[in-house]
């Protein structure tokens, strides 16, 4: 028996409050493609991806029709290329990046993730070669995404790797200077990177993953914001319940879609990522949720507390709705992809320092933040080191996706279009951390990593 109220509520969530499935991401293992000949390796990678994910886009579109809910992105993540690339030269890695692009074009997907390296404890020659060619790989391809894991709670922080990232990011910005330095939007620096994340740019198929898996990322900031608005002047315990119930409903849809996609693609279900992922669309903003909770503006004192409560309630509501939870799971706070965050930065209420504090209590980290094009490499390294240590010490994932927009200054903005949105260029503290970063070596793992 169908309940009229339930039906109308669901329809309203989808049509008016921007509820959607943000992504179905198929993780594909490339271990069986390994070859010492890079051309042979590329051929095997192309064949495996295009065969395994052949029906991904059409299946996503069919499920979208069946349930009447938009499935915004269909994507693929692969085994970190620094692992399967092995002995490849930098030019060999570049060839692999082009192969991934070719596979993405054939499949009609909008991103392919996994041009990645795991260097939290040290760097292999392969990882070094991959990182050295990242600016070219990201500027010569359109849909290939990359991530570098530079730290973990177990391994500590690889400062030598962080020291390479500032120059890599700056060069990526320079090579795509005619496109607002967009290459930087496809590169994430991680601590404690999850191995089953469906969201870009950080998605890859981890080393313990099966041959292939379906991972789904849900969304719905607009639905949560509306539920909070309807709840009126209730206290925080009641508000947490409202958020939990809403997150449960959103996540159940994600689980439904994940099960159906797994069945139709004959691929095991991996995880649902319990995320609140904003888009630049009006109303689909995490900042608006925080303001709906009672802040005059996102970025005001009290923002970290509100975000901590929101993030926790989303997880509590979502976890019961899904059989397996993974990925990043939490509220995202990318600046350029969230209309409310952009407005908060523009009115001077939200600073980089406040964003850093917020990342201690939610998912991901300093995400899609544009900084002046002349920001020194060492300052970028310092921003990364700070953010990464928040993740390492708190045993959580943190990440940095910074865009030092070439030729632009604080107060200007850069337009990326689509889901990547518009980024106001934020002023930053340029006092130098060069000597600290330049010491190199590793920051030891924190004492609470010793749990055995």
């Amino acid at each position: 028996m169908i309940n009229t109220q339930d039906v109308l509520e669901t329809i309203n969530m989808i049509r008016e409050e921007n509820l959607d499935i943000r992504t179905i991401t198929m993780g594909i293992s490339l271990w069986d493609c390994v070859s010492e000949d890079v051309d042979r390796l590329c051929d095997k990678i192309y064949d495996k991806i295009t065969k395994r994910a052949e029906k991904l886009v059409v299946t996503g579109n069919d499920i979208e029709k069946m349930y009447g809910i938009p499935i915004v992105n269909k994507r693929v993540s692969v085994t970190p290329i620094s692992l399967v690339g092995g002995a490849a030269s930098p030019e060999g890695y570049l060839k692999i990046a082009h192969t991934l692009q070719r596979a993405a074009d054939t499949l009609g997907i909008n991103f392919i993730g996994g041009f990645s390296a795991l260097v939290q404890k040290g760097m292999t020659e392969g990882a070094k070669n991959l990182i050295s060619i990242l600016p070219e790989a990201l500027s010569e391809t359109r849909n290939v995404c990359s991530s570098v894991n530079v730290a973990s709670t177990k391994a500590g922080i690889n400062m030598d790797a962080i020291a390479m990232m500032g120059s890599t990011i700056k060069r990526s910005a320079y090579l795509t200077r005619d496109e607002n330095s967009i290459a930087c939007a496809k590169l994430v620096v991680f601590a404690n990177v999850p191995e089953d994340n469906p969201f870009m740019a950080g998605a890859f198929c981890g080393v313990g993953e099966p041959e292939a898996a379906i991972n789904v990322g849900v969304s719905g900031p607009g639905v949560v914001a509306s539920a909070i608005r309807r709840a009126g002047d209730c206290n925080l315990s009641e508000l947490a319940d409202v958020i939990k119930k809403t997150a449960f409903k959103i996540t159940r849809v994600g689980q439904l879609v994940a099960n159906e996609a797994a069945r139709r693609l004959d691929t095991p279900f991996g995880i649902v990522d319990l995320s609140l992922a904003p888009t630049p669309a009006i109303g689909d903003s995490v900042a608006y949720i925080l303001e709906g909770m009672g802040l005059e503006s996102c970025g005001a004192h009290g923002t970290t507390a509100a975000l901590a409560m929101l993030n926790d309630a989303v997880k509590k509501g979502g976890v019961m709705a899904s059989s397996h939870v993974g990925g990043l799971s939490g509220a995202f706070i990318p600046v350029s992809e969230d209309a409310g965050m952009i407005a908060a930065v523009e009115r001077g209420a939200l600073t980089l320092e406040k964003l850093e504090a917020m990342t201690a209590v939610c998912s991901v980290g300093l995400d899609m933040i544009a900084v002046p094009g002349d920001t020194p490499e060492d300052v970028i390294n310092g921003i990364i080191a700070d953010e990464i240590s928040i993740g390492v010490v708190n045993t959580k994932t943190t990440a940095v996706r910074l865009i030092p927009a070439y030729g632009k200054k604080a107060g200007e903005s850069v337009e990326f279009g689509g889901l990547l949105g518009t980024a106001p260029i934020m002023a930053i503290n340029t006092y130098s951390p060069a000597k600290f970063i330049g010491r190199g070596g590793r920051i030891p793992a924190p004492i609470h990593s010793l749990k055995n």
């Binding site: 169908i2 309940n3 339930d6 109308l8 669901t10 069946m66 009447g68 809910i69 689980q255 019961m320």
Partner: protein
């Protein structure tokens, strides 16, 4: 397998007849209809058995959508599971 068809918009003559005609054409069997009219605003929810559908479900949903667009109505056909999973534990 059952589909939930929702129709919303300004009330006019023959909405149920038009939607039913599309259901009959593609062999969707109507099981239940709930409808209400509130200050000229029409809302109808229809439950239909689509096991015997003679086209793909996506085409059936598109046919209803096109019908709605021609009459200034919003018509959505969705698999019932989305409502069941979202609202029931």
């Amino acid at each position: 397998m059952k589909a939930v068809i929702t129709v919303t918009g300004k009330d006019t003559v023959g909405i149920i007849a038009d939607v039913s005609a599309v259901c009959a054409k593609y062999r969707a069997n109507i099981l239940e209809i709930t409808q209400s009219v509130l200050s000229e605003y029409f809302a109808m929810i229809m439950l239909a058995d689509i096991d015997a559908l003679d086209v793909e479900f996506a085409d059936f949903a598109d046919a209803l959508k096109v019908l709605g667009e021609g009459k200034g109505l919003m018509i959505h056909a969705m698999h019932e599971d989305i409502f069941n999973t979202m609202h029931h534990i």
